[in-house]
Symmetry: C2
Subunit: 495 residues, 2 copies
């Protein structure tokens, strides 16, 4: 079975390279053939993975599996393979094809809706997508709520009820904080971040910072440019990420680089022995995001980090930053400002963007909200949580590409990642109380090693809740995250 | 069937991208996983292509095929698919595996032999390879000579006897010419080509020249750097080649670029409607080489080309070439000098390098030559044909990588390409007598269009002999090639 799964993994990772190339170096006209190639690779991988032979092998291995420790490589391989096999085989081929066609149509409609800045253009395709996702949820099966089935595809074992509890706590903690900060909006000036920053130098800085925090650029990774930053690995020894450089704004490139480097360290940290195995993955989207947010925000937006890196950055950009103090710079990269676009949101407001989407998805699934009323409901939630009203659909409910892929559970990982990043970091801090002094010296290896040993080392063995319980003793918990946010931003804004 | 073949094509082209990336941008440590991925893609493509379903379909299509014109797309697809299917299914899986292992061992031994500059280190692995290639030839089947079976894999329909006739004529024509030129060796000075030429500027010149002759770099192609130049296409709309820049020698980068651009125009010139078809290939290695040699030598080393391009080149390299006359430059890039290394050989001596290899392969297959005596036989042939004796194995019989892949027929395409390039060019010249005046104006589109319409348009429909007969009215013919070489070099060397 290991061999059969290795073939599936190889086909998927090959598809990954085709995707990477599509986003980076592919000549424009190559797009159509590339689309065909990707479709064939994913079809063949699916065929191989859902072959009856795999099902029979999984059945036959059941007794053996039960004699093995739950967390052993062997038992975990069988368990994860069975979970994925069941998901893959529960979807009737006809539904898979209809889903794939609906994606294509939704993508086209979404592009047009964005051009026309009009949700109504997207509405019919979105309706079709919602219907299909209901069917998908039914086919996959669930105990409590159809969204559970969809959420489980991204975050194995996570329930809709877990997410609701989490968002409830976040709402209580964050909405008042955002209001309090809004009243002191002028306390932080970040205008100097909006100046011309030379593209080449920015790219060098991105490389330097990614390498400094421990992303191996020498022999096991690379950084390139693309329109949307992403990280992808074809093995732990070939991990690549991309950034987008904005010549008029420092944050866009730099923090994307630390963010993607975080994903990259997860992939590079997977155990060598998993290389061709189904365990050669992170635990979930959310856990992956915990690593990117850790390095982007907890480390990359900390005073300690800039104690180390600011003098270096000033040398690269003497004209722009020569006269800006380190403290002012630290405050600027942490400026909080309610805004319409998720991908531009700061650390405090980001989860509110996710909450809006999650609540709307659930209301649609519960048939409490009709799709015609989606933009209105979106805008109302923005008013309530962020105190601002999106002026149009482009800055409202058609900003994300996610609903062209599916509908339901696709955003949860972002918030899980933010919350888990603090929970994991505080555990690491318990064991290494000197971490921040180390950051100030440009020393990040103790934190990285801790993540290697406690998170990356398990690959895809455990779901996110399982992993967090094993590592921190508790399931996902908003407490540490809220405490961290309040502490940090009360200090910055003098609340 | 078209759909099944499209899957095979997609898997192969995907493997192509993995190879391209391996040679250009892959982080070093990614090599092992990449090897696995390539092996899986080629295994799965082979499985799909040799599936009994394909065999049954080919049987069922036989009657239909016979009602169709031979050169129709449909009949050609079935014919080419059947030919390839039969080849693929005639090889027992066990032999395929042993061949693949022998390649790995041969590659390792070859690397070590090169490090030690000692053929004896390579000898055992080469012996194993020769035995396996005999088995391969027997499995594939042949009428006259086992080499026919191997040659047919590269050059469908070409026979060993054809090659012997061809080399016989070339030997008669070229050996005396090489001697005559050697006596006037000092008539051409190319020392100014061996100076420092800035890497970036060379790369710009490579791009400019490739684009000038009609390789589409804008939306359908790209050029990158790699250790060994090569061209690869993932569809007619995504064709890429690489060059290697030598900062101390102008020719290495520039003529590699024109050479690879020639391969590139063939791939970009394949008909759109073949895109996912088995016909989306050139006619043979040799015909492919005819296009690269056409642009590298017949065009790129012509007076007319430099009439157009030399002023531009001088502007790029004023220090190096400002005082060199166009005529001296033309003579320099055409300097003839018997040398040991095939890939550095000039237009006149190149085919003699190929002839040595072909004759030795045949002698080994005929058991007239034992492998222990190979280096001696190699050196003797060099003395006879080129008047020089290789001082060691590295500059002798272990210089090429080809014998680590197989043994027999692997070099023929180079000479077929040289000879066919002139045969095709003269036909084009008949129809467009003003071609050279056009080159002098930087105008290459009539020649390119002629090749598009007469060569590229057929894809893999015809074998090389078939195609040449259709286009020029004759099979491969050394006559035009020898006349061209004698005319050109008698002029340059005043013979």
């Amino acid at each position: 079975m290991v061999e059969l799964l290795a073939e599936v993994t190889a086909l998927r990772q090959s598809g990954g390279l085709l995707f990477w190339d599509q986003q980076t170096y592919m000549p424009k006209a190559g797009a159509r053939a590339r689309g065909n190639h990707l479709a064939v690779l994913s079809k063949v991988a699916h065929e191989k993975f859902t072959a009856p032979e795999i099902g029979r092998l999984l059945e036959r291995l059941r007794d053996w599996e039960e004699t093995l420790p739950y967390d052993s490589d062997e038992a975990s391989t069988v368990r994860v393979a069975r979970r994925e096999y069941e998901k893959a085989t529960r979807l009737p081929p006809d539904l898979v094809v209809r889903h794939s066609r609906a994606r294509t149509r939704a993508h086209e409609a979404w592009i047009e809706a964005r051009q026309k800045n009009d949700y109504k253009v997207f509405r019919p395709a979105l309706g079709e997508m919602v219907d299909i996702m209901r069917e998908v949820a039914d086919a996959l099966g669930y105990e409590d709520h159809p969204l559970d089935a969809l959420l489980d595809q991204q975050e194995p074992g996570m329930k809709t009820a877990d997410m609701e509890g989490l968002f409830g706590e976040l709402r209580q903690g964050l909405v008042p904080l955002v209001k309090a900060i809004a009243e002191k909006a002028d306390a932080v000036d970040d205008s100097f971040l909006h100046q011309p920053f030379d593209r080449e130098t920015q790219m060098e800085v991105c490389r330097e910072a990614a390498a400094a925090v421990g992303f191996d650029l020498e022999t096991r990774g690379r950084i390139d440019l693309s329109v949307h930053p992403f990280t992808i690995g074809f093995s732990r020894n070939d991990v690549r990420f991309t950034v987008r450089i904005d010549e008029g704004f420092f944050n866009a490139g730099f923090f994307a680089s630390l963010h993607e480097a975080g994903h990259g360290t997860y992939m590079q940290g997977l155990p060598e022995r998993f290389e061709q195995s189904i365990l050669h993955e992170g635990a979930s989207s959310g856990l992956h995001e915990s690593q990117s947010r850790l390095w982007e925000n907890i480390v990359g937006r900390s005073r300690a980090f800039w104690q180390f890196y600011y003098p270096r950055l000033q040398k690269r950009f003497p004209e722009q930053l020569g006269k800006v103090s380190r403290e002012d710079f630290y405050r600027a990269v942490n400026k909080v400002e309610p805004s319409f676009i998720r991908v531009e949101a700061d650390e405090v407001t980001y989860n509110l963007h996710i909450m809006v989407r999650f609540e709307l998805e659930k209301a649609v699934f519960d048939r409490e909200l009709g799709l015609d009323d989606l933009p209105g409901a979106w805008n109302e939630k923005f008013r309530n949580y962020l105190g601002i009203t999106p002026p149009d659909d482009l800055r409202g409910c058609i900003q994300d590409i996610h609903w062209t892929f599916g509908f339901g559970g696709g955003f949860a990982g972002y918030t899980i990642g933010n919350v888990a990043s603090v929970q994991l970091y505080e555990k690491a801090l318990e064991e290494h109380p000197g971490l921040e002094e180390e950051f100030a010296q440009g020393e990040f290896s103790n934190l990285l090693r801790w993540m290697n040993e406690n998170v990356h080392a398990h690959g895809a063995k455990f779901g996110p809740q399982e992993l967090l319980e094993r590592v921190t003793g508790r399931p996902l918990d908003a407490g540490p995250y809220l405490a961290y946010i309040k502490r940090k931003f009360s200090d910055i804004y003098g609340l």
